[in-house]
């Protein structure tokens, strides 16, 4: 029970941290953003409440102090950079503690001390804000109550009473209201009763305009800045929604990811069970007098096909989650990495609402972190170099996501030094990855792609942050495991962009089923180029291996049975060969027979076989047997 609660606290906690961070970032830019201030208050308030459910005293105390500061800022609206920095630091600390709770189940050892220091810093700010506002003149609270008709129409209501000489001074109060952002409702009435209309003065302004807007207070006030003394503004959202969370706004249901995974696995198995029906229909049709039964079976199979396809797609959509929370985790990490390297970066995130399969979100954290580290460590120049190049002191790193058809494109773009192709070539030669000749023949894009070569690390000196001998090959492998790819664009002096192109959902993989000895194996069909039968006498030994001629090319031939350790079959007059493309080169795999082609959901191997080289995953066959699906490209490494 407690475990369930903790799991929920961790996942909600991360969302609240992300939302508070987002609001604080807005406040750092616009300290008078009332919406962001309210949002931040709600997040901190909810976090504090949740922390109270567990024995997390340092967290509760620190959040309590943060809430006090926010309460004061909301009442007086005098937030300054120092306030927001302190609050940022609190949110970062909570984020770190959540990570620790996730890993170890307890707060880190220094939590008491760290929490106390944060709390002291907040208390000092609370004291200074209170002192400042005691002397400052307070704005007179408005006595105006917005009309009931405005309920639920927007966030901010305004009452605008133009002066009687407004028309003479050139104001058009209607135009001013029309220009207000997010206008959602308007009421026009006379300021004073009309009296006798025979004396009506068309040039004496006698209007009261009441309007409601979906925009925040500050935007509304900005629209009326030239007539600021003539308006009264009321926040419609502030009073009732804080501290109560948005009731009814949430139409989502929090479901344990494992249950969804189980559902997806069942839907996947159903596809395979359905595949068996086609076989059965064919068999029935072959029986004497079975024609009608076979056709009926086939008709049912077609129907089932469609339903199962729909089910699979729908389950796939259940698994879609927004990228926002993943992106949000990088704000703190970017600040920490930059601080450790004595650099300043500003991380911007766009497209956090793009949804992709949960597996992809889960699998992206490590590679994105790696790319982020690389960008800050190797991409972003030291402060003096940036200054000389006329770039802003804070480097900009942008995470963006956008959906393109059934793919999602995720980019990490920095405005650093970019990747120098000549430098990469020189390093590659120096590290023995390439010969001088080969290196000189490479064009710039191909040179940049060298950073994906295993063992290649472009840092000319190993740093504590990213130069740990782990190259970008890890990033490329991760992208490929998720069914996608990664490319790098770079402009020297302007910056680099690492672009992931990934499927939105985990798709059905087309698999070719082959046999070697007694065993059946799957080969991912997207790597298979063609299948050929090669007479044994056309196979020639080449050094330790064998090769055969395929039209005008010589293709190396390997026995799949040898690779997977299957029992070798005896001599045959000709070989069945599956020609596949592995790392850009054609390779022939000799097999005993090609049995089938099928669509399958290939699941990664778990347990002991998780890291087995050349194994992409496994899928279930119609008869319930497990089929190992091999990746030819990895097999011949």
């Amino acid at each position: 029970m407690t475990d369930d609660l903790m799991v929920q606290f961790l996942s909600e906690g991360r969302e609240l941290v992300a939302s508070a961070e987002h609001d604080l970032a807005s406040l750092a830019r616009r300290p008078d953003d009332a919406g962001a201030l309210d949002g931040c208050f709600r997040a901190i308030h909810t976090l504090k409440g949740s922390a109270g459910l567990f024995d997390l005293r340092p967290m509760s105390l620190m959040l309590h102090a943060a809430e006090d500061l926010l309460t004061l800022l909301r009442a007086e609206r005098t937030g300054v950079a120092e306030d927001f920095e302190a609050l940022f630091s609190v949110v970062d600390t909570v984020d770190r503690w959540l990570d620790a709770l996730d890993r170890t189940g307890v707060l880190p050892a220094d939590a008491d001390l760290a929490g106390e220091s944060e709390t002291r810093r907040l208390r000092a700010l609370v004291a200074s804000v209170s002192a400042a506002t005691d002397t400052a003149a307070r704005t007179a609270p408005t006595s105006w109550r917005p009309p009931q008709a405005f309920d639920g129409l927007g966030a901010t209501a305004v009452r605008y009473t133009p002066r009687a000489d407004s028309y003479f001074s050139g104001d058009d109060p209607i135009a001013i209201v029309a220009a207000m952002p997010g206008l959602a409702g308007l009421q026009v009435s006379p300021r004073e009763a009309w009296g006798g209309l025979e004396d009506y003065d068309p040039y004496a302004c006698n209007l009261v305009l009441e309007a409601v807007s979906t925009a925040g207070r500050s935007e509304v006030e900005a629209a009326f800045r030239f007539v600021a003394g003539q308006i009264e503004v009321v926040d419609l959202t502030a009073e009732e929604t804080v501290p109560a969370p948005e009731q009814g706004a949430r139409k989502t249901l929090r479901i344990d990811a494992e249950r969804v995974d189980r559902l997806a696995a069942l839907a996947g198995d159903l596809i395979i069970a359905k595949n068996g029906l086609a076989d059965l229909a064919a068999q029935a049709e072959g029986l004497p007098g079975g024609q009608a039964l076979g056709q009926a079976l086939r008709a049912r199979q077609v129907q089932l096909d469609r339903l199962v396809g729909d089910l699979h797609a729908t389950v796939g959509k259940v698994r879609l989650v927004a990228l926002g929370p993943l992106f949000a985790r990088f704000h703190r990490l970017a600040r920490e990495i930059a601080r450790s390297l004595d650099k300043t970066v500003s991380l911007e995130v766009e497209g956090g609402d793009v949804e992709v399969d949960k597996t992809i979100v889960d699998g992206l954290f490590e590679p994105l972190l790696h790319v982020l580290r690389n960008a800050i460590d190797h991409g972003v120049e030291p402060a003096d170099v940036r200054a000389r190049a006329g770039k802003p002191a804070a480097a900009s790193i942008r995470f963006t996501a956008r959906a393109v058809a059934d793919q999602v494109v995720i980019e990490v773009r920095d405005d650093g030094a970019g990747i120098d192709p000549a430098g990469i070539r020189a390093l590659a030669v120096q590290r023995g990855v390439l010969t001088r000749d080969t290196a000189d023949r490479l064009d710039d894009q191909a040179s940049i792609d060298l950073i994906f070569t295993p063992g290649f690390s472009s840092a000319s000196e190993v740093s504590a942050v990213s130069g740990r001998g782990v190259g970008m090959d890890v990033v490329r492998d991760a992208a490929q495991k998720l069914g996608g790819k990664v490319i790098v664009d770079s402009r020297v002096g302007k910056g680099a962009t690492v672009r992931f192109i990934l499927p939105v959902t985990m798709v059905l993989t087309k698999v070719m089923v082959v046999t070697c000895g007694e065993e059946r194996y799957g080969l991912a069909l997207d790597t298979v180029v063609e299948t050929v039968r090669v007479p044994t006498e056309r196979i020639v030994p080449v050094r330790a291996g064998r090769a055969f001629q395929l039209r005008d090319a010589v293709v190396p031939l390997v026995s799949l049975g040898d690779l997977v350790g299957a029992v070798a079959s005896g001599h045959r007059p000709s070989e069945r060969v599956v020609v596949a493309r592995a790392r850009g080169e054609l390779v022939g795999f000799s097999v005993d027979a090609i049995v089938d082609r099928m669509d399958a959901t290939v699941r990664p191997m778990t347990g002991l076989l998780a890291g087995a080289p050349g194994v992409m995953g496994a899928t279930l066959l119609a008869d319930g047997a497990v089929l190992m699906v091999l990746d030819p490209a990895e097999l011949v490494l």
Binding site: P162, S166, Y167, D171, D172, P173, I174, A175, A178, L183, G185, L186, Q187, V188, S189, P190, W194, L197, E198, Y200, P202, Y203, C205, N206, L207
Partner: protein, 87 residues
């Protein structure tokens, strides 16, 4: 010329500016039960709006401008769309 007196109907055409408030007031003061056609109206100055509010003519015709049609007109007719009909 944006205020047109077309027999029993007063038509507002194009963008009505502050100086249109006076001729409109004169026309509205002349008849007890006037009709105002806004179908060709593209913009109303507050002084013109105020005259309409004061004299409450029957409004016909829907302007194309979304602000006029969806925000201002309902405010002038008390939100009763039945007050506004196509001429």
């Amino acid at each position: 010329m944006t205020v047109l007196n077309d027999g029993p109907i007063i038509r507002l055409r194009g963008v009505c500016r502050v100086e249109d408030a006076e001729p409109l007031t004169a026309l509205l003061q002349g008849v007890s039960d006037s009709t105002l056609d806004l179908s060709m109206c593209e913009g109303l100055h507050a002084a013109v709006v105020q005259a309409i509010l004061a004299f409450r003519p029957t409004i016909v015709g829907l302007p194309d401008d979304p602000f006029l049609r969806d925000r201002l007109l309902p405010a002038l007719t008390g939100g009763r769309p039945s007050d506004v009909s196509r001429p």
